[in-house]
């Protein structure tokens, strides 16, 4: 989303197959999966807009094999999986190959991820499927399609869907390990997802007022689930490259594994990532100069998102039972003096800030999940662990690499070590202490 100064991306696109208005009528758009509940809601928004969308749920070795076959093997694991999942689906015989399209996000940043769409097209060509149109989902005008438009209204609804997804994930994670009836939290997530879908169908649930009121109900419902708080759970935070962090396909069902080990997980949501990407564009202008008008436009979007975020924080705080999401502005404060705000490729400084946030909230046992050889993670993940440990000696961070060859047994073994240390710390110091607030001047947006 931050393809600044990009004058002529369209130049690349002369021969690409456009997704036309005609296609919108009877083409099925296949969407790769990352976060099931979020995506269920997001897809509903698209469906109500008249798109035939379908979430891909195919998993397993054939997805990986497909990726290995059609994508450069040294490319990052997320690209390999997303593209593998798409081609595996296309080759499954389930779809009319002349009535199907694909969609993939394109951020336009300096990381390899901006090239996923091109790698996908190369892969389609290799697989003899080059007739299939690929839609770029981006906010930068990187590629345009007459049959697919992100209108302001649509964007607003997508943001709302994402916020619901975040809040459901946040609450479920905090309830699940303690619920007295197993499966209660997940059942509630499903119930709310269904209910929200119904609300969306009726065109409801998107305005800020409605958002607040639904979210209040959601929090109340989660607070009503019977729990046993005496259970001693290891509190574990998960950060990482966005796809590997969220997608169970990529991280070998990390959350399930941690749950089976009796952990409470905290996975910072999507909202701060979106805020981060918008903020980056303003930050670029501050750092290097640029258009004031563009800054103002970004600021409007930023403020809108921050307003939604505030609602999410408020509704959780009001009830007092749960840890609310950390405000993006606070993440900015946390990173001050540790990394520059210009560090924006991939997850950028946000990843480090999320680790700080987790430590601050008592989730100092952290799994930092990244694709093997992920470039930004050399910097903001592995590159910062030393500094974080200096600042917070009680933190217990384990970086885990994911790629087609890395085995679950190795990954889990490393995580188990982290958990052994965590349990020992729990014995001696109950939980990682809240970090003392270092004196520093807060940075504002």
């Amino acid at each position: 989303m931050s393809c600044e100064n990009c004058k002529s991306c369209e130049m690349n696109q002369e021969t690409r197959i456009e997704f036309t208005k005609e296609m919108k009528k009877d083409y099925t758009i296949l969407v790769p999966n990352m976060l099931s509940n979020h995506f269920k809601l997001l897809l509903k928004v698209f469906a109500n807009e008249g798109y035939n969308v379908e979430l891909l749920t195919n998993e397993g070795r054939s997805v990986v094999e497909c990726g290995l076959k059609y994508v450069h093997n040294d490319t990052c694991y997320p690209a390999l999986l997303v593209i593998g999942q798409m081609i595996d689906a296309l080759q499954s015989g389930k779809y009319d190959l002349n009535k199907v399209a694909l969609i993939i996000s394109q951020t336009g940043g300096g990381c390899r991820a901006s090239n996923y769409i091109h790698l996908l097209r190369k892969a389609l060509k290799k697989a003899g499927l080059s007739q299939i149109p690929v839609i770029s989902l981006n906010l930068s005008g990187l590629e345009k399609n007459s049959g697919f438009k992100l209108t302001l209204g649509l964007i607003r609804r997508l943001i709302a869907a994402m916020a619901y997804g975040d809040i459901l994930m946040l609450l479920a994670n905090q309830v699940r390990p303690y619920e007295t009836v197993k499966g209660a939290a997940d059942a509630l997530v499903d119930r709310w997802a269904d209910q929200l879908v119904a609300e969306f169908d009726a065109g409801k649930g998107f305005a800020k007022g409605a958002l607040r009121s639904y979210m209040q109900q959601i929090v109340a419902d989660f607070a009503a689930i019977p729990v046993d708080r005496s259970r001693k759970c290891v509190k574990v935070g998960i950060v990482g490259e966005i796809y590997v962090k969220f997608s169970s396909l990529a991280n070998n069902h990390l959350e399930e594994f941690l749950a089976s080990e009796g952990c409470e997980v905290n996975v910072p949501g999507l909202m701060s990532f979106i805020l981060f990407k918008v903020d980056n564009r303003m930050e670029d202008i501050k750092l290097y100069g640029g258009s004031k008008a563009k800054f103002a436009v970004c600021k409007v979007l930023y403020n809108y998102l921050a307003g939604i975020e505030e609602i999410m924080i408020d509704v959780v705080r009001e009830v007092g039972r749960f840890n609310p999401p950390t405000a993006y502005s606070h993440l900015r404060e946390l990173i001050y003096g540790i990394e520059g705000y210009g560090c924006k490729m991939g997850e950028g400084w946000l990843l480090t800030a999320e680790m700080l946030e987790l430590i601050e909230n008592g989730y100092g046992n952290i799994v930092c999940a990244q694709p093997f050889g992920c470039l930004p993670n050399h910097i903001v993940g592995k590159g910062m662990i030393r500094r974080l440990r200096e600042l917070h000696p009680e933190s217990n961070i384990v970086p885990i690499d994911y790629d087609p060859g890395a085995t679950r047994v190795n990954q889990e073994n490393r995580i188990k070590l982290m958990l052994s240390v965590a349990r020992e710390n729990m014995g001696t110091a109950a939980a990682p202490e809240k970090a003392a607030e270092p004196a520093r001047e807060p940075a504002t947006v």
Binding site: G340, M345, H378, P404
Partner: protein
């Protein structure tokens, strides 16, 4: 009483502790991958021998025991944690534990903040690595240890990954380096790997304890650690059993607990058959195999009886990386005699024996010509005065043509390399060699067979009728070990693992090396060869995977030698220079190791002297020690760039401060800019010294990510050098954006180049006492830049004048333009000279920092030695207007690559060689695109992956093949 069981990757260790924590029973056993069976056996014996054991708590540790313990409801203690429990109790004043196991390496810091470091996905420097290296030297690990005591010299061996180390060691072996020295060097590599890869900057000091098999059994390894750490570590009693003891100590920590009797019963019932992912079987039934065997039996070269033969013959020798092959060929190309033998580290005595034997037995056969190919080409050619040497790719092509005149694809899987050639119009059109990370396939099978106590042929055969071969995917061997471990855990039997490994070798070749999407992209007429294909399982897997029948010559392992013999015949001068029977009698071979003093590289040379003054020098990185008549004339734009950069050393009279600039990554391009800028402002710019190995090791300990590219790692040492220099500030700004050269859609730097200053700031402790300027700057907006940089520098220095800064900026941009202009002009000049002298031109393309000789390992010079002129990508990229590519063209450096590739298409005498740093994520995208552009223009794409490695042997093969292919193309164009 408590029982601790440590299930390691290769062994089982078990202790019984009494209530006072004394060891009353201990046992150690290799499990040869039969984990469940061996465990049950061991525990039964224990139950029967130790009274009262049946009711004692059993606790399991070790990565291979995790699944078993979980499924059987037995207490499990993570192995590093177990070590910690044991050490804390038994040696409480320990500061650091270094524990090496079969496939793991760990450092445990106990003083201060407790911390554990385990080896990650790159598993070099472990017991398995040492075993593999011992196999390579054809000795046992114990012998390796013994030999290490007699060491005189330490060679540099890349330690990050076993495969790299192999490609460093093989040439040493082939050059005749002493085994004593190699052995000690292997230990040294393990030490480096442990310190660099695991300690990552945290010093190892105080009381150090060594644990685990390799450190227990090998005093040479302990000595290497002691020496490198400059301390004396202790290897305590029972150092093998610490994990097992820790498991026993921690038996009551978890909620899951079981006694030996309970555990034993559950483990005995632990069946996991068929839970792993599997591939279709290789053969369903015998008949299928018979048909297959009959079909392949038809592809053969005739063997003629040497007793009956009289007349001229041709000898071809292929001194490969792990085996020596030789063929004596008759006038009508029949094979009279052949040799196929592991080279045991030195091909010379084997060839000598073969020739002596041959001359004695068959005096009627007259050798009229001979040729040598393979890794050991030069030493063998010199040792026996052979007539010709040829690059192995060509040798294989000549041989393949014999079987299939219209062959269009050859794939050769040898001991540690995969080579593939595409052939178009009778010439080699494209070459794929495995890059460092996926090599080692053949010898991997061998090592694995060895671990199971079998030889490779038997091991591979076992998989032929396996019902459900393990799906191991395609990945480098280091990863494969743990995949196998996982499969074993899931109950895979040996036959299914064997078949799975054969299949994975094939997948590795297809998807990692060639990256084929389907069979048709390989070719219609495929010849497979190399020793690994002698295994029917591998051959079958290959045919299944590509869905096409292929030809495997009956001499699949001899193809290089046979091709060399054909070449010898084709080039025959009628009389051979090869040593005859008389001369062989007086054959002498001495090896001396010395350090070359001709340049600052200080290469360790192995000087092989033979009788009659024949000589071969190995280990040299440049031609200086071997050149007969001084320097040849050469035109090398890399050298010129380096010279030019070296010239930015002027300083103002009374500098207002000394600012240090680390010479690495993008500074190779930014130096002219910053030099002009700071000098103009009255600062002295202090540039860090030229990189070398010693400097690199000095900064190694602060590298936080062991998989980042080598150029980034090298930067740490430049910072250290500047700190030593005592500068007032170090200037290393973050740069998200690069200059906009209008060749692409955007002008980013890659994430590592852009933000490495953040990593430096967070990881180099010395920077705390100095001004470290790593602010974010944007040179891509020249109008905004002066104001921004003024603001940044004013934070660090008083009294800067805005107008002066503006002028300095102007000077900086001007100097950058001037630098580029000079490079381009020199490039033009070299191209002109090349054309006048009819020399081929190589555009050696990479990043600005590939100019650093420590990074490019002298590949530029190597190309010059091959008689070509070297220019850089940025010397030609400006000839091209922005054009359409199939990727998002958003990185400045990479846009130049695409442009250079495009430009070359219009220049018949130019070829492109792309340098790619290992671990460069961005190049996963650029390499494919550059290849596509070049192939679209009918050019050959050559990629060279570089890392810490200093071995140029493989690079040379690529380059020679490229030149051979170009020559062939030219010949054809003329015809």
């Amino acid at each position: 009483m408590r029982i601790g069981l440590d299930v390691g990757s290769t062994t089982l260790k078990c202790v019984v502790l009494d209530d006072a924590n004394n060891i009353i029973y201990k046992t150690y056993k290799r499990h040869f991958a039969q984990i469940t069976e061996t465990t049950v056996e061991l525990l039964r014996t224990l139950r029967d021998e130790v009274p009262g054991a049946a009711d004692a708590l059993l606790s399991v540790s070790g990565s291979a025991g995790m699944g078993m313990a979980e499924a059987s409801g037995i207490g499990f203690v993570q192995e590093v944690y177990a070590t910690r429990l044991a050490v804390k109790r038994l040696i409480p004043d320990t500061d650091v534990v270094i524990e090496l196991g079969g496939e793991d390496a760990k450092i445990l810091y106990l003083d201060g903040t407790m911390e554990v470091r385990m080896n990650g996905s790159c598993a070099g420097g472990t017991g398995a690595f040492i075993d593999q290296m011992a196999t390579l030297l054809a000795i046992t690990p114990d012998e390796l240890n013994e030999l290490s005591h007699g060491c005189e010299k330490i060679y540099t061996i890349a330690s990050r990954c076993g495969v790299f180390a192999k490609s460093d060691i093989q040439p040493l072996i082939n050059q005749g380096a002493r085994k004593e020295d190699i052995s000690a060097s292997i230990f040294n590599a393990v030490v480096n790997q442990t310190i660099a890869g695991l300690a990552q900057g945290r010093p190892i000091s105080g009381k150090v304890v060594y644990l685990g098999g390799p450190l227990t059994f090998m005093d040479g390894l302990r000595a290497a650690f002691d020496k490198s750490l400059n301390l004396t570590g202790t290897c305590p009693d029972n150092s093998l059993y610490f994990v097992a003891m820790g498991a026993a100590f921690g038996a009551d920590i978890g909620s899951t607990q079981a006694t030996l009797a309970e555990g034993l019963e559950r483990i005995a019932n632990y069946h996991t058959e068929g839970r792993y992912l599997s591939c279709p079987p290789l053969f369903r039934e015998q008949a299928e195999y018979d048909e297959f065997a009959a079909r392949h039996a038809a592809d053969k070269v005739e063997y003629a009886s040497p007793e009956a033969y009289e007349g001229n013959a041709y000898i071809g020798i292929d001194a490969g990386s792990t085996t020596v092959k030789a063929v004596v060929m008759s006038e009508n190309r029949d094979i009279l005699l052949s040799l196929y033998r592991p080279n045991s580290g030195n091909p010379v005595p084997i060839i000598r024996e073969f020739l002596t034997d041959f001359y004695a037995k068959y005096p009627k056969i007259k050798v009229v010509s001979s040729a040598v190919t393979g890794y050991g080409e030069e030493i063998v050619k010199n040792a026996f005065a052979a007539d010709f040497g040829l690059v192995e790719t060509m040798a294989h092509f000549f041989a393949a043509k014999q079987f299939m005149p219209d062959v269009d694809f050859i794939i050769d899987i040898g001991g540690q390399d995969i080579k593939c050639f595409k052939i178009r119009n009778g010439a080699i059109d494209n070459i794929f060699l495995n890059e460092a990370c996926s090599s080692g396939c053949g010898s991997f099978l061998q090592t694995f067979a060895g671990a199971l106590g079998q030889d490779i042929a038997d091991f591979a055969k076992e998989g032929l009728f396996a019902k459900a071969p393990v799906d191991l995917g395609s990945r480098c061997t280091v990863f494969m070990n743990s995949s196998v471990k996982q499969a074993q855990k899931d109950g895979a039997t040996v036959d299914n693992i064997s078949a799975g490994l054969s299949i994975s070798v094939v997948k590795n070749a297809l998807y990692k090396v060639i990256r084929a999407a389907n069979a048709d992209s390989l070719g219609q007429h495929i010849v497979v060869q190399g020793g690994t294909f002698l295994n029917d399982a591998v051959l079958r897997a290959f045919e299944q995977e590509i869905g096409r029948n292929v030809v495997r010559p009956n001499i699949a392992g001899l193809m290089g030698a046979y091709g060399a013999a054909i070449y010898a015949k084709d080039c025959s001068r009628g009389e051979s220079t090869l040593l005859d029977a008389d001369k062989l009698k007086n054959f002498k071979h001495d090896v001396k190791v010395t350090t070359c003093g001709l340049c600052e590289n200080h290469c360790r040379l192995t000087i092989n002297t033979f009788d009659g003054g024949r000589k071969f020098i190995g280990g040299n990185r440049c031609e200086r020690p071997t050149a007969k008549g001084g320097h040849a004339e050469h035109y090398d734009l890399y050298e010129y760039k380096l010279e030019l950069l070296g010239g930015y050393n002027t300083k103002p009279d009374k500098p207002r401060a000394r600012i240090g600039l680390p010479m690495g990554l993008n500074m190779y391009e930014m130096l002219p800019f910053w030099h002009a800028f700071f000098t103009k402002l009255g600062f002295e710019l202090v540039v860090s010294p030229r990189s070398d190995r010693k400097l690199y090791i000095r900064g190694q300990q602060t590298i936080p990510s062991d998989t980042v590219c080598f150029p980034a790692k090298l930067l740490h040492s430049h910072i250290e050098a500047l700190l030593d220099e005592g500068v007032d500030a170090i200037f290393y700004p973050c740069m998200t954006y690069n200059f906009d050269e209008h060749l692409g859609d955007n002008h980013y730097n890659c994430p590592v180049v852009a933000y490495y200053p953040e990593v430096i700031g967070a990881n180099v402790p010395g920077l705390r006492n100095i001004k470290f300027i790593n602010d974010y700057i944007g040179v891509h907006r020249p109008k905004d830049f002066p104001g921004k940089i003024y603001g940044i520098l004013s934070k660090y220095f008083d009294g800067l004048d805005k107008q002066q800064v503006k002028e300095a900026c102007d000077a900086a941009y001007a100097e950058r333009d001037a630098f580029l202009a000079k490079v381009r002009a020199k490039g033009e000049e070299y191209i002109k000279i090349a054309r006048e002298k009819k020399m081929p031109i190589i555009v050696l393309s990479g990043r600005p920092y590939h100019v650093d000789p420590e990074i490019n390992h002298g590949i530029d010079r190597l190309i010059c030695e091959c008689g070509a002129v070297v220019v850089t990508e940025d010397a030609v990229s400006h000839h091209v207007e922005k054009f359409k590519v199939h990727v998002l063209n958003q990185w400045t450096y990479h846009s130049r690559l695409y442009a250079a590739a495009k430009y070359i298409g219009s220049q018949p005498d130019m070829n492109l060689v792309q340098l790619v740093s290992f671990g460069c994520g961005v190049d996963a995208i650029t390499t494919d695109e550059v290849r596509e552009i070049l192939e679209g223009e009918g050019k050959i794409y050559t990629q060279i992956k570089i890392d810490e490695i200093t071995n140029l042997g493989a690079v040379k093969i690529r380059l020679r093949s490229l030149f051979a292919a170009c020559e062939a193309k030219e010949r054809e164009a003329r015809a």
